[in-house]
Every structure is written in C-alpha cells, then in structure tokens.
C-alpha cells in the first residue's frame, strides 16, 4: 500500500464500472461492467495487475476500492430479497462517477 496515491472516490459515492474492453490480465469481471454501485471502502493503492502480469513490475500505484452492487442491479431475475448485494475490488481507472 502506498500512502501517496490518494483515492478519487469517497465511500458512499455512486460509481459506474466501465468496460475498457482491454485484453489481457484484467481483474474487472465481465458481469459487473456497465453496472452502477457504491464505493464501500478504499483498499489502498496497488500496482496495476494489467501491467504486473507481463513483468512490468514497480509501476505507479493506483487506488483500489471495494465497490458494492445490489444483486437486483446485476441480475434482473435475481432470486432473493432486494437487500442482497455483492462487493468486489475495482481499480480507479475502471470507474466513473454515476
């Protein structure tokens, strides 16, 4: 974790997980792309796995957040109450304000 890469989104902020359509070792699963959720927690800043996976170690650290999405927003036919949710980790460059 690096203290100098400050978060750009605050807990509670509404965010859209964008689809960068980037090939390779990306950690943003397809099922959450173009979905809107809420910043749950700032995890710290980490090197970009999209670079690290190809041996480019030691690059800039980017903010990583835990983003909470409601299951109903992920799957329209979700079986379960409206309160059910999912949290996953999304890097800053995959997020836009929503």
């Amino acid at each position: 974790m690096s203290p100098n890469a400050a978060p750009t989104f605050a807990p509670g902020a509404r965010v859209r997980i964008i689809d960068l359509k980037k090939p390779g070792h990306v950690r943003t699963p397809i099922y959450v792309r173009e979905k809107v959720g809420t910043i749950d927690h700032f995890c710290g800043a980490f090197e970009n796995p999209e670079e690290r996976a190809y041996g480019r170690i030691g690059g800039a650290r980017i903010p990583l957040y835990r983003v909470r999405l409601m299951q109903r927003d992920l799957w329209p036919d979700y079986e379960g109450p409206d309160k059910d949710s999912l949290v996953l980790e999304i890097y800053d460059h995959w997020l836009q304000p929503a």
Partner: protein, 223 residues
C-alpha cells in the same frame, strides 16, 4: 496445481482446468497435458536449468503449502470471539492480527468480514481461485470449480442451500468476489450456548467452510 507462489496465486491458478485434479502435473502422466500444464512444466524446467530456482526449493515450497490448514483461520476466529480488542484489530487489519498470532502471512492484504444477525457473507473468486492460503491452506476442489465460481455470484442463496444453509429474507446475503489484491476470511458469529468453552474448544467449532461462508460454526465442523 500446487502453489509455488502463494502470494500471487491468481497468476498460475488458471491452469486449474485440467484432468489431473489435486495431483501434481507431470510429463509422463496418462492424460494429455493441457497447453497451460505443458507451459508450466517447461517454465519450471527452465527456471531450474538457469539456476533461478532449485528443484529442492520447489519441493520445500510444496511441503509448506501442504502443511497449511484451515486451523490457523479457526484459531483467529476463536481468539476474536473471546477477546473483543483482538476482534477490533482483526476487523481493522486482518493481516496484522494474523501476524500477531504468529501466523506466517504470505498474502499482500487480508480482510476479515464479520457475519452479523442481519448479514451473512460468502467468499468466491470468480476470475480464478484466490484464497487466503496462509490461514486456510489449499482451497477445496469445489471452491475452484467453475460451477461455484459462476453460481456463487449469480444465485448465492441457492448455492448456500446446497451447502445446507438457508437464510430468511430479513438477512442480507452479501457475496465478496475476491477478484483483485485482497484476500478474505469470514468472521462467523459465535454460536449460542458456547459460553463454557475455552479458546481451543471454540476453534474446533470453526470448519474451513465457516471461514469461506458456506457453513456455520458448530455445524459440519471439522471438515
């Protein structure tokens, strides 16, 4: 596939899609090697040949991996149940709390997620099989199965029912996809009627699956 680098487990776990199950990949296996397995063996051979790693170092790491068990996670939970200050530290920084108990943590970041009367949590890694190995050992086969990885996010309540857990609509079921840099462990609720138990007895109630969120303490314990 065994974990030669438990701190970066998602880099090699993609090769789980093979016919070998829990057995190590080897050149003279009866089943045809997949592309990933052939690449893994070639890379391993080259690392040894170039002197980057020795066969002995690889063997020793395999042995360390085989020794890791869910007991470390259970020990941590039992400690949290009896020591509120430790629990607070664990929820703030699970890695520091594990190190405090003398656990050798290989993960970069660990996060403990607390179950409450109104929220039950369950962990999955949809992209591969990221797992807190230093606390729980090697993941069970179902955890790395494509069925669990795809269904746990899509129909978690149904998956939980198949594990024997059913929650009312008053309880939120919250899925945690361990898709990037953090590794997760569940802090389950202490069962009723366990006031007389000491820390070691409490740890015995905490099965591996409790720490992933697919079981509750005291039920299916010791699996």
């Amino acid at each position: 596939m065994n974990s030669d680098h438990p701190d970066h487990d998602h880099h090699h776990d993609h090769t789980h899609d093979n016919a070998h199950g829990p057995h190590p990949t080897r050149e003279d296996d009866d089943v045809v090697l997949s592309y990933g397995e052939a690449k893994f063996l070639a890379l391993k051979g080259m690392l040894i040949e170039k002197g980057v790693l020795t066969a002995d170092e690889i063997r020793r790491q395999h042995e360390i991996n085989d020794l890791l068990t869910p007991h470390q996670g259970a020990r941590m939970v039992a400690k949290a149940w009896v020591d509120p200050a430790f629990k607070a530290r664990m929820l703030k920084d699970a890695k520091a709390a594990a190190i405090e108990l003398g656990i050798e943590v290989t993960e970069a970041e660990l996060m403990a997620i607390e179950n409450t009367p109104t929220c039950h949590n369950i962990i999955v890694c949809t992209l591969c099989s990221c797992y807190p190995r230093s606390l729980l050992g090697e993941p069970p086969p179902w955890y790395v199965s494509k069925a669990y990885r795809s269904r746990a996010v899509r129909e978690p309540r149904k998956v939980l029912r198949e594990f024997g857990l059913s929650f009312s609509d008053q309880v939120e079921v919250r899925v945690h996809d361990s898709n990037a840099d953090l590794r997760y462990v569940i802090l389950p609720m202490r069962p009723q009627g366990t006031d007389a138990l000491d820390e070691m007895e409490l740890a015995d109630l905490v099965s591996r699956d409790c720490l992933v969120g697919t079981a509750l303490p005291g039920r299916n314990a010791g699996s």
